[in-house]
Amino acid sequence: MPERIRHAPLDMGKATFPKAKIQLIKDQCKGCGFCIRFCPQKVLEESQEINARGVHPPKIVDESKCLACGFCTAVCPDFAIFIIEKPSKEDVKNG
């Protein structure tokens, strides 16, 4: 359906995006950078701080962008990052 969309969805306000709290166990991080590179929402970036292992652990840029896909948890070789999904109110109705 080709026409240009000009109006914002009426129920956009009601839409609840999955939200998550990102937990970093900084001193366990070895700085491989996998979580930063493969985060689809680009929530993480390398920080300037140096942890107990002498590497730069990631830092959270914008947690609100996180869609709780949990890839960072799954790809971390060092069990140094995980997310806690915040309970969303109601599943958003589709269309």
């Binding site: 080709p2 240009r4 000009r6 109006h7 914002a8 956009m12 869609l67 589709n94």
Partner: protein, 814 residues
């Protein structure tokens, strides 16, 4: 693929002595009134090869036809010339007569001494008679060079392709499938249903749109004869009537057919985007189904949105939620190749985007919406659950305005046509509002209410009775009150000649329909033509309204012009029937006006392949040769005109035949004559129309008929000048209206080249004229001849001699 060479049979007719019979028709007084038919017949008898000539009152009568049949046997005639009316009228009649008498129908020729002579020179008997003699001479000259021909037959594959799965495509597919043919239905979107699936109610019956469409959609999904290819696109079409080879790109859905459409995946998908199906008024997820009744019901992942779009499966929420394990991120685009005999084009239309009309503020003011957005809003299955709410504050509007003709009937937007459906759609919409919220104040700003169909007027009356205000005069602008987001509409009530300022809560722009922006590839692939409006052009607006000019292709629905659901369905059934006729017959004959190829002269330059509008000539680079696909040929002859080496000519319009006609015209008094080449479909028909309308013009013109102006090779024009013609006219269809897709563009190029040459040689290029005239533009043709006649009177003998010299070369090969 290639059809066998046409057999040149029947040596009795072609070889040996040529015996021509000429019949000059009086047509009552239609011809005899201005032409001395007896004299013409007498003259004809003196012409070479003519063994029998006579005049009779009505040659087309049974008596006249019997006479011809008798003479063929008695006088051993092997060519017949009838001088009477336009071949567009009676050529088939006389061809049949010849066939009945055992003579090949391609050995018949006509001289048009009625439309092109007696009727247009009503008051100049002498000139008309002289002209008639010339016309007969031309016909006899051509007849002496006619050859018999056999029409080839092409088998038709009994499968059909329907492009577009809107209501028209659905109907056409179902009709064909029910008849028993295998149908491939290709739809670009994830689901069939098209525009009809999106609207709420249908006029004038106020049926729920999706309720009546959904059963048909599911029929398509289940029909054993229909193969539905959704989310797919036609990428390549090769071949010709009866034998199309089609490539279809099936874009991946990323969900396998195992999907039970339970929707669990969508619930867990973290990505949210506007749903295009709801005109963006509601949200959907990256994995979704456009609407509840979608067919196929399989969900689809929008890979532009999905978190895994980079090729790394980062998110597997839907995968985990899917009990049937139907999600497959690795699905790849597939190309499906099919062979079909007929194609139905039902690609539908787009709606006009009103954001270009700045004075209406669409896209700027929240409460200005389009009629399509309104449909989603009032639809119980839509984003607001059927509550008409205005976007700014989600309140129910108390005062609503509809503005008609937005993007239709406008020269500026290039959409001069009426979009056909908006008036009734608005009336229906206003009634829907009244039904739910009777207190709503509704203004409809219109210029003409077009309630032309069955039951439409009643609906219009009902709306008026319900208190909908119809105000004639469109608002010049819409201005928003920033505080309340209410809208001020300022315009003129053109009935009362008063300015109005109306304050409403919400304004709905009744946007028109426009050709689909993506119709260009379809046009190119199927070699279709379009009208100025951009919709596809039918072969004939009255008598072949669903056929494309290209054989084996038919139109259904809004692809051809804006229409409502009923008309779309009607046309779809018609298209299915037309396609069905072809397939039931199983074969088609092609008129023997295809190219004749002399391979020994061919230098494999490929020019012919380049100009062929039907891709019927293929340059085989590997084998270094040119291949003809006669079945695909449309018969324009532009290839023959283009070939620099005379390796191609057109059957029944050979170089030899046309040159003999030119020579016949220019044999005497050439310096007072205009040699006109007219295409069969537009210019020749336009000249016929001038005759039918009795438009008078000077008798100096002699028309040579070709199928297309693209057949007119430069050498014909040069020869006419070399033989001393005063002027030459090349006339064809308007650019874009060519009967042979675009062959007349070649005409233009060739004439321009000739002009340049004439200019360089110091000749008056005015003596060669190019005219675009449609079949309805008799006056255009007549006035052109009048204009050119002034030129003929002026042209000096030196000028003519100069031209003779310049084009001397063209006389070679005599």
């Amino acid at each position: 693929m290639g059809a066998e060479e046409k057999e040149k049979t029947n040596p009795r007719e072609d070889d040996g002595e040529i015996r021509i019979g000429v019949y000059v028709c009086h047509c009552g007084l239609n011809i005899a009134g201005s032409v001395d038919c007896g004299e013409v017949a007498k003259f004809a008898a003196t012409l070479p090869h003519v063994v029998w000539a006579q005049d009779n009152r009505y040659t087309c009568s049974d008596q006249g036809q019997e006479q011809i049949k008798k003479d063929i046997k008695e006088h051993k005639l092997n060519r017949v010339v009838v001088a009477s009316c336009s071949p567009r009228l009676h050529e088939p009649t006389f061809r049949k007569t010849c066939e009945d008498a055992g003579l090949n129908k391609y050995l018949f020729e006509m001289a048009n001494i009625r439309e092109h002579c007696s009727w247009v020179h009503l008051y100049d008997r002498q000139s008309a008679t002289e002209k008639a003699k010339d016309l007969v001479k031309m016909a006899v000259a051509k007849a002496a060079r006619l050859q018999s021909a056999k029409e080839i037959e092409v088998p038709i594959i009994r499968k059909a392709l329907v492009i577009g799965g809107g209501v028209a495509g659905i109907q056409a597919a179902l009709d064909l499938a029910d008849t028993g043919y295998k149908v491939y239905l290709v739809e670009k979107e994830p689901s069939i249903g098209g525009m009809m699936a999106r609207i709420d109610k249908t006029f004038p019956t106020m049926d729920c749109s999706i309720c009546i469409l959904a059963p048909k959609m599911s029929d398509v999904g289940h029909h054993p004869n229909i193969e539905l290819l959704a989310n797919s696109e036609v990428t390549d079409v090769k071949g010709y009537i009866g034998n199309f080879h089609v490539k279809i790109l099936k874009r991946p859905r990323f969900v396998k057919n195992d999907c039970s459409a339970c929707g669990e995946c969508s619930k867990v998908c973290p990505v949210i985007a506007p749903n295009k199906f709801d005109a963006g008024l509601a949200i959907r997820h990256a994995i979704y189904t456009p609407f509840a009744q979608a067919v196929p019901s399989t969900y689809i992942i929008d890979m532009n949105l999905c978190l895994n779009k980079d090729g790394v499966t980062v998110c597997d929420k839907c995968m985990k939620a899917c009990e049937r394990q139907a999600i497959d991120f690795e699905m790849k685009p597939e190309t499906v190749e099919i062979d079909v005999g007929t194609i139905i084009v039902a690609i539908g239309a787009d709606v006009f985007d009103p954001s270009s009309l700045q004075n209406y503020g669409y896209g700027k003011y929240l409460n200005v919406i389009t009629s399509l957005e309104f449909e989603r809003l009032i639809n119980a299955g839509g984003p607001s659950g059927g509550h008409l709410i205005r976007p700014s504050d989600l309140e129910i509007p108390r005062r609503v305005a509809f503005i008609q003709c937005v993007g239709s009937r406008s020269d500026k937007s290039g959409r001069l046509y009426c979009s056909n459906v908006c008036c009734m759609n608005t009336i229906k919409d206003s009634l829907l509002i009244k039904e739910h919220w009777p207190e709503t104040e509704i203004h409809v700003f219109y210029v003409d209410i077009r309630a032309y169909g069955k039951g439409f007027e009643d609906l219009y009356k009902r709306a008026r009775k319900e208190g909908v205000l119809f105000i004639r005069g469109l608002p010049a602008e819409i201005v928003e009150d920033r505080k309340t987001h209410n809208l001020w509409l300022v315009g003129e009530n053109t009935l009362q000649k008063e300015l109005y300022k109306v304050n409403v809560d919400m304004a709905i722009l009744s946007v028109g329909l426009e050709p689909r922006k993506d119709s260009e590839p379809i046009q190119r692939l199927l070699t279709l033509s379009r009208t100025q409006d951009g919709f596809f052009m039918e072969a004939h607006p009255k008598l072949r309204p669903v056929d494309a000019a290209t054989g084996g292709i038919f139109f259904a629905g809004c692809a051809e012009s804006p229409k409502d659901i009923k008309d779309s369905v009607t046309q779809a059934s018609a298209a299915a029937a037309r396609a069905g006729i072809l397939m039931a017959k199983g074969k088609v004959t092609v008129e023997a006006i295809t190219p004749i190829f002399y391979p020994e002269r061919c230098k494999v330059c490929g020019l012919c392949a380049k100009v062929c509008p039907y891709n019927a000539i293929v340059l085989n680079k590997e084998l270094k040769r040119v291949e003809l696909v006669k079945a695909a040929c449309g018969g324009c002859g532009t290839c023959a005109a283009e070939c620099p080496f005379d390796a191609l000519t057109q059957d029944h319009f050979t170089d030899e035949q046309i040159i003999s006609q030119i020579d016949a015209v220019t044999e005497s008094d050439a310096d007072k004559k205009i040699v006109a080449f007219c295409c069969n479909w537009c210019a020749y028909a336009g000249a016929d129309f001038a005759g039918v309308s009795r438009m008078q013009y000077p008798p100096s013109v002699r028309i040579i008929r070709t199928m297309c102006s693209g057949r007119v090779a430069p050498k014909f024009v040069e020869r006419a000048f070399a033989r001393g013609a005063a002027a030459v006219l090349v006339a064809g269809c308007h650019p874009g209206d060519c009967h042979y897709i675009n062959a007349n563009y070649q005409t233009q190029k060739r004439v321009e080249r000739l002009w340049k040459k004439m200019e360089q040689q110091g000749l008056d290029k005015e003596r060669l004229q190019l005219l675009w005239a449609s079949a309805a533009e008799g006056e255009r043709f007549a006035s052109k001849i009048r204009e050119m006649n002034r030129l003929v009177e002026k042209v000096s003998p030196e000028e003519i001699n100069n031209a003779k010299k310049v084009f001397e070369k063209a006389l070679g090969g005599d």
